[in-house]
Structure formats: C-alpha cells, structure tokens
C-alpha cells in the first residue's frame, strides 16, 4: 500500500494506507488520534472539524492521498500547542462559559470557532452575527447560545493574545 506523509500537530507522520482512505479514519483508526469525532461521514455535521494549513476543514471528506508532506494538519489535540500554550484562548473561553454538555461535538466546534475568527481576521474585520449563524456544526445538546458567547469572548482573547 502507498505511504503518505504529512505534518500532524507539529510532527511529521507517515502512514501506510490506500490513497482514498479518508483522513478521519487515518487519524482515528490508524494513528489513534481520537479528538476529531465521527457524526456523519459526509461533511455535514462537522464533528471532525480540524485545521489544514491553518484553515478549518473536515477530514471525513479528504482522501489521505490529497495531502503533501508539507501539509500541516492540526486536530484539537494540537490546537493549544499551535499557539505555544497549555490551552488555546478559544478553549479558555469555552471553559469560562462552561459550554460543553456531552462534549462530543465540542472539539469540532472549537476548531471551527478558531477557523471562523481567523477567517474574519484575514479579511481585516470582526466576526459578525452572520458568521455565527453560518456555522454548520451540529450540537444535539443545544449548547448553541453558549457557543456564540464563547466565540465572541474567544475572539477577544485571540486578539489580545
């Protein structure tokens, strides 16, 4: 089987799997990285949201063969390390607002929140209500209001940090 090399949470990894294997299963079943969750497998629930070269993406919809050795994949496990801290400012905001209930969607929610804030930053603007409305991540426990509050708080912390 072909080998694939990419950077996972700051370290280069090489896996021996078929090109078509979706990255979610490479992470979870081959590499044992269990932060990204399965909720649909078709890129609609967003529970597996992680970062690809610093931008939000869903590994359930990416064949591992699409990755180059220099591509950087960051999962929830590597988020804090990516900013050189114990907790990312967005995670701190999540704790402050006690967002999680069952917690299953929350790694994906946090990774998406950081991506949405960074997207607004790249565009030179603050996050808007429309940005929050357009977040597609499902939370079946219904923590949506707290997620919105935490993202606004986390965006401030990211700006200040």
């Amino acid at each position: 089987m072909p080998t694939h090399t990419f950077v996972l949470n700051g370290k280069s990894v090489t896996v021996d799997v078929a090109d078509e294997e979706r990255l979610l299963w490479v992470l979870r079943d081959v590499l044992g990285v269990r932060g990204p969750k399965y909720g649909c497998g078709i890129n609609v629930c967003k529970a597996c949201t992680s970062h690809f070269n610093g931008r939000g993406f869903n590994p359930c919809a990416v064949p591992v063969g699409a990755l180059k050795p220099t591509d950087e994949v960051t999962t929830i496990e590597g988020l804090a390390g990516s900013v050189g801290r114990d907790l990312h400012p967005m995670q701190e905001a999540w704790l402050e607002h006690d967002v999680a209930q069952c917690g299953y969607c929350q790694p994906g929610q946090i990774m998406m929140a950081v991506a949405v804030v960074n997207r607004a930053k790249r565009a030179g603007r603050e996050i808007t209500e429309a940005d929050l409305d357009n977040i597609r991540n499902v939370c079946r426990c219904g923590t949506y209001s707290k997620i919105r509050d935490a993202i606004e708080d986390g965006a401030q912390r990211m700006g200040a940090g």
Binding site: M1, A18, R22, L23, L24, W25, V26, R28, D29, V30, R34, G35, P36, K37, Y38, G39, C40, G41, I42, N43, V44, C45, F52, R55, G56, F57, P59, C60, A61, V62, P63, A66, I76, A80, Q91, L95, D98, V99, A100, Q101, C102, G103, Y104, C105, Q106, I110, M112, R119, L132, D133, N134, R136, N137, V138, R140, C141, G142, T143, Y144, S145
Partner: protein, 773 residues
C-alpha cells in the same frame, strides 16, 4: 405534597426527623459508607392518593422510580481514599446532563471536601441494583440525592470519630473543613491520614444529621462541569475512542426497508477479500463487516450485494399510518352541557422524529467462549446485560458491562441496540469489535419518536371552562427497557388499575395543571411494527403543546389575555410564580411588529415547574432568508425561561439543560421530523434532518433558576415541553392561524434529495479541501 415520612413502619425509612438518618460504615480498608436500605425522597404514595382522575399530579413517574429504587439504596456507597480524595461510583449514565458534576457536589457538601477532590465514575452494570441503575425520567437527582448525602455524611462521621481518638478529643469538639478535621487547639488531620484509621472492621450502623439547606456551601452554587477540560481538549473518551486490544472497527449493512432481514449475501467472498476486511457475517439486523478502519467498513458495506426480505411495514407512509391512527382514535364524549355552552374541537398531528444524539450507537465488545465484556454508554445497563447474556448463551455473571460516558442520549440510550449488535458481531467473528452505526442507519433503521395525533374538546360557558378532554393516539412507544420493571415493581402503589405499560407511563406523566372542570386525558396506541423509543420528555412535548395551543384559543374566545387566562386557572402558586417571572423578564405584552409575536406556556413535571416566553419573527424577509442546505423559516428571536426545579444542586448545569430543552422545542415546533414513504424513512443524515442549527438559534436566551425549598427535581428533560409549547403558541399568534401539524414545515417540499437506500450508506465525499474555512 407532604414531605412527612410514611407512618407505615414496614415501608418507612427509619428516620426521626427530616434530616436525621441511619446509614452504615462498611467493613473495608478505608472508609466506605452507605445509606440505609429504603432511603429516598419519596413520600408515601398511599397517604397521598388522590380521588380525582389526574394521578400524575399526585404520584408521578418520578415517584415510581424513587419507590422502585428504595430496596437497593443501601448499595449506594461513598469511599474516602488514602490520598484524601473521595470516590463515588455513580450507578447512572452520564450523557451530558451533568450528573457526575452534580453528585460530586452532593458528596463534597456532606463530606466537607473540595469538589475537585471527589471522583465520580460510572458504575458498570450492577444487576443487584435492580431498578436503581436506570437513567431516565430525569429522576437521578431526585432518587439518589438523600442516599448519597447520607453515605457521605456517614463517611465524615467515621473520619470525625477516628480523629477524636487520634487527637484525644471528642467528636463534638472537632470540626471538618475542606478535607481536614480540625481540633479546638488548631491541630489538624487530613482525611487522607484518617482514611485507613477510620475504616470499618465490620458493618456499623451510624446515625447522622444532614446539613440544613441553609448551611449549604456547595449545593446551589454555580459549578462548572468537572469533565469540561477533557471535553475541550479532545481527551474525553467515548466508547469509540477506547483502545481495547484487537477491537477492530465493525459496521452493519442494513436493509432498504424498515426492519427487513437478510435472505442471502451474493458476494461475501469478494467483499471479504477487500483491503482491510477481516470478516463478513450475518446478524439478525443485517450483514456485519469487520475491518481495520471504519473507512474500509463503509467501502465494504457499499460493495455488498445482499438479497433482503421486506420488513413488516414495507409500504407504509405518513398518510397510511395516520389513517390507522384515525381508526384507533377514541371518540370524544359530548358532555351534557347547559344551553349556550360553546363546544370546541381541536386536532393536531405530530410527525415521526429522530431523537438521536450526535454520537451514533456504538459499543466495544469482546465476546469469548465463556465470558463477554462490553463497553458502551447505556442508561439501563442491567437490562442490557440480561439480554446480551441471553442472546450469547452466557450466564449474566459472565457478562461485564462497562458504562462509558455517552455523547448525548435524549432517550436513545435507554436502548442498547449498538451494544447487543456489537456482542453478536464479536461472537460471530470470534474477535473483539468496535461497532459503530453509520449516521444513515439511525433515522432509517433506528428508533423514532412515534407519530401521534392529539385531539382536544373543550366546553365553556360564560368564561368558565366546563370540561377538557384530550385523546392522544400514537404509534406504540417501545418501553421494553427498565421502565417496565419500575411500573411492575410499583404496581400496587399506582393510583390506577391494571393498565398496559405505556398507559401507565402516560398516566404517570400527564395531567392538566389548570382547573378546567371535568378533565380526561387518554392514550390509545396503534401499530407496533416501528422501532420507537421515548425521546426526551416522552409524551409531554406533544400533549402539552396541543393543550397550551388550545388554552390560547380559549383565552381568545373568552376575551382574555393568554397570561391572565392561565393565571386564573392555574392550580399551583409555584407555577404562577414562574409564569410571573417570565412575564416580567420577557416584557409580556410589549408592542410587536406585524408578523412577529410573543407566546407563553407553562409545564409541570419532574417535581418542578416551568414557564417559557418566546418571541418569534414570521415576516417574509426572515422566513425566506437564504440558508444553504437547511431550513430557515420563522426564527425564534428571544426566549425567557424560568424553572422552579426544587433545590437546584448546580444551577449552572440546570440552565444548560434548559438551553438544550429550548433548542429541542424550537426543532419540534418548526423544523425537525422524519418522512415515512414506501416503508422507509427518507432522512439519512444531518443534511436531511434539520435539528436546530445556529441559523435557527435565538439571539437572546435567558434562563432563570428560581430559589426553591422543594425536594430536588429533574432537569434533563424539563425544558422541552414548555419551550415547544411556547414556540407553537407564538407562531400561531404571529401568523394568526392555528397549525394542524408539527413541525410546521413537515409538508413543505423537501430541500434535499433522498439518499439511495441501496447501498444503505453514502460514500464519504472527497472534496473537503475545496471548502476550507
């Protein structure tokens, strides 16, 4: 309701006052304490039996669960460890409702230990607990509050006694604080130093006095979840995240029609030869594949060619099931009423819906010839062990069921479908498995909240309501889990005769909280061929939404404001108080633009009282706002919710549960249902099933937890009925027309193409890098 203990010495807890209890210091290497058998919050049912036909107002499902747990309360133990921490193995499921944190607080309170030093873990299935290991009916706190407090207080008492010997003092002169015993001269001993010295050599009865509620320093404070950090760093482990040696991924290829069965596999050898695939085996629910990754399982399922036998509802549709329900509906009685009485009939339909959590059904199973070990989230693990042991042909004592933290439940994990399948697949493969349902499996072959109609007839004369009759008619709800045992065990106490199980659940949960003269509510069921379950709040969301909508109509007909009308007819001050709270905080009656409106509703259940006020925007520019692959529709813009839950152990956690109930209520009213066509449900994933998403979320949600001295009630399901009802009422007032069915979008054209039924699961996309955020 009386808080006095029963006078019957054979059933009453031996207690001399409301706060003094007997418990036991058990023999052990460190302090292990337990409450006395027969300890709970439940007042005597016999003493409180009503003469009116509304039993749930007096003795409800929560009471039944409390009574069913009484014989085993002595088996609930709290332990103090050598490192100064305390451990409590909670015989319940944690599925997000926050009871691990709440019970850590309860133990911390009576033990005088910081909350962080209390380790709450989930007990594996303990068959000796019988009905005291059921997580359902929002009863965990109500049932276990007092026994856990007593056990913790006994442990503290044992520590005090040991310290008195060590310090040459007497217990009465010592005090405990933050994990230390402190002598009058300032000397201290830590719980860790005392844990072994205080251990019981045999079982010793000890009488303790629990703290007065006014002395609480932990209970009632806003405590963040103890598992929050694990959850937000990805460290929290759910069943599918466990590393059990050899437990490879497994999934099931399921039939194209509901509950179809395998006739033949045409290409088993070919699929078994696919990359990574280790096994292809037939199980009662389909064809199981085991492979090195779930991606390979999905590929194998898609490659399988299977001949199927059709299920028992092969051609059924929403319409055909509704025809059956109409046939089953009991007639409304035309009451004998005075001249000039107005009689009004109302009829609502509530469509099938999926209560499935985001974590799909999943379990790890390692089945050997002589034993089995299961890891899964399960709310009734004792029943799971019974069934799994039976199907595997093993004695119950050879099946260990480890209860894992779950990624949501909403009623789904009352059933152990995934665990049973995992066990069967592991046995058939002769190897451990990590079994997962594909998302498409859940709406299509999983459990639905049953479709139902609710008809109401009211008679009123000169502003007085003379009668209120409600006939709820539903596809059968499956209660083949622990609730059945609870009902059987408490049958002698139930304030009605021998009725079917679902009838008992209905009668124990439904009542009309208003004075409406002659009141009757009945449940009739039809068609047992669907896979159903109680979804969060069971019958109440639908029964209450129908009622509250009718109440708004009655207010209108009698020329009363909806709040004034409710206040005039509500029976309990406690309910009026929460209603008054949302009316004040939500500025009821403020001027609203055309196409927008407020709505209000109340609900009483789980020993608590709720009121919800919402504002909704049904203007075209809002309803038609562009939403990609989702439902926009009317938007709830504001929610004010007030709950009197009794003593709130953790108001912060309770607020979170109300948030969840509110989001569920919005979905039930406006967006989320499943469509039955030609013997199968069309929905297959979150892009078809529009549970509340960020674009539906109100910008302003406020929850008020009212101070209360009542016994602690239930939180997990308490928010749904009032929220659903308030949204339904607000929508009706905004558009000026009473809906006939819910959710209101059920008959709108589908905004998605139904996914194919063969193969039963969709391929994962490959274009993820084209949609970077």
């Amino acid at each position: 309701m009386s808080d006095e203990p029963s006078a019957d010495p054979t059933t009453a807890p031996r207690q001399v006052s409301r706060r003094s209890f007997v418990g036991y210091l058990l023999a052990g290497s460190t302090v292990v304490a337990a409450a006395e058998i027969g300890l709970g919050n439940t007042p005597s049912a016999e003493a409180a039996l009503p003469t009116v036909a509304v039993p749930a107002d007096i003795y409800d499902l929560t009471d039944a669960q409390g009574d069913a747990a009484l014989p085993t309360q002595g088996l609930i133990k709290v332990q103090v460890n050598k490192d100064g921490t305390a451990s409590f193995e909670l015989p319940r499921a944690e599925v997000g409702q926050g009871i691990e944190t709440a019970f850590a607080m309860i133990v911390a309170e009576e033990l005088d230990l910081p909350v962080e030093k209390v380790h709450v873990t989930l007990a594996p299935a303990r068959p000796e607990l019988l009905m005291n290991q059921i997580t359902g009916g929002s009863a965990s706190i109500f049932v276990l509050f007092t026994p856990v407090r007593v056990a913790a207080a006994i442990a503290r008492q044992a520590l005090l006694r040991a310290a008195a010997i060590q310090l040459g003092s007497v217990v009465d002169r010592l005090r405990s604080k933050a994990g230390e015993i402190i002598a009058p001269d300032g000397r201290t001993l830590s719980y860790g130093e005392l844990a072994e010295k205080a251990a019981g050599v045999d079982t010793t009865a000890i009488r303790v006095t629990l703290k007065d509620t006014s002395d609480f320093t932990v209970i009632g404070t806003r405590q963040r979840r103890l598992d929050a950090r694990d959850a937000i760093t990805g460290r929290k482990r759910y069943a599918m995240d466990l590393d059990v040696p050899g437990a490879l991924p497994a999934m099931i290829c399921r039939p194209p029609t509901l509950n179809g069965t395998v006739r033949a596999i045409r290409n088993a050898a070919e699929v078994k030869a696919m990359p990574g695939v280790t096994h292809v085996v037939t199980v009662p629910t389909g064809v199981a594949v085991r492979a090195k990754t779930f991606g390979q399982c999905i590929d194998a399922i898609r490659a399988l060619k299977v001949d199927w036998n059709a299920g028992l509802v092969a051609s059924a549709s929403d319409e055909s099931v509704l025809v059956e329900l109409k046939r089953a509906e009991l007639p409304l009685l035309v009451p004998s009423v005075p001249l000039l009485t107005k009689v009004r009939d109302f009829d609502f339909t509530f469509y099938f819906r999926s209560g499935s959590p985001l974590e799909p059904n999943c379990a790890v199973a390692d089945v050997r010839a002589d034993r089995a070990t299961i890891w899964a989230s399960a709310k009734v693990p004792v029943v799971a062990v019974q069934e799994i042991a039976g199907k595997l042909g093993l004695p119950m004592s050879k099946v260990r069921f480890n209860v894992v933290e779950g990624g949501g439940s909403f009623g789904r994990k009352l059933f152990h479908d995934g665990a049973l399948e995992a066990a069967r697949v592991s046995k058939a493969c002769g190897a451990p498995v990590r079994l997962m349902w594909h998302r498409a499996d859940e709406p299509r072959q999983g459990r639905q909240h049953p479709i139902a109609t609710s008809r109401i007839r009211v008679a009123h004369l000169a502003g007085n309501i003379l009668s209120f009759e409600q006939r709820h008619t539903s596809v059968v709800t499956d209660f083949k889990h622990g609730f059945g045992d609870v009902i059987t065990a408490t049958a002698a106490r139930l304030p009605f005769g021998d009725v079917a199980l679902s009838q008992a659940i209905f009668l124990l949960t439904q009542f009309v909280p208003y004075d409406f003269g002659l009141v009757t509510q009945t449940l009739t069921e039809s068609n047992q061929h669907f896979n159903t379950s109680a979804v969060r709040n069971i019958y109440s969301p639908d029964v209450r939404a129908a009622s509250e909508l009718v109440i708004d109509q009655l207010a209108k007909e009698t020329g009363k404001d909806p709040v004034v009308f409710r206040r005039e007819h509500l029976r309990k001050p406690r309910v009026r108080r929460v209603l008054d709270k949302v009316v004040a905080e939500g500025k009821w009656g403020r001027p609203m633009p055309a196409g927008t409106a407020q709505g209000v509703a109340i609900h009483e259940e789980y020993k608590g009282a709720s009121a919800c006020l919402v504002e909704i925007d049904c203007r075209p520019e809002t309803v038609n706002r562009p939403i990609r692959d989702g439902v926009g529709g009317p938007r709830v813009t504001k929610v004010v919710y007030a709950i009197d839950p009794g003593v709130a152990v953790n108001p912060l956690g309770l607020e979170a549960q109300m948030h969840g109930g509110i989001m569920d209520g919005i979905a039930l009213a406006l967006t989320a249902s499943c469509h039955l066509e030609d013997g199968h449900f069309l929905e297959a994933s979150w892009d078809n099933y529009p549970y509340t998403r960020q674009w539906n979320v109100p910008g302003d949600v406020k929850v008020f937890v009212m101070p209360s001295d009542n016994p602690p009630g239930g939180g997990g399901e308490a928010g749904v009925a009032a929220a659903f009802s308030a949204v339904a009422c607000a929508y009706t007032r905004a558009v000026g027309a009473l809906p006939k069915y819910f959710p209101i979008n059920h008959k709108d054209p589908l905004f998605w193409e139904p996914k194919p039924f063969v193969p039963p699961v969709p391929a994962s996309p490959t274009d993820g890098l084209e949609h970077l955020i």
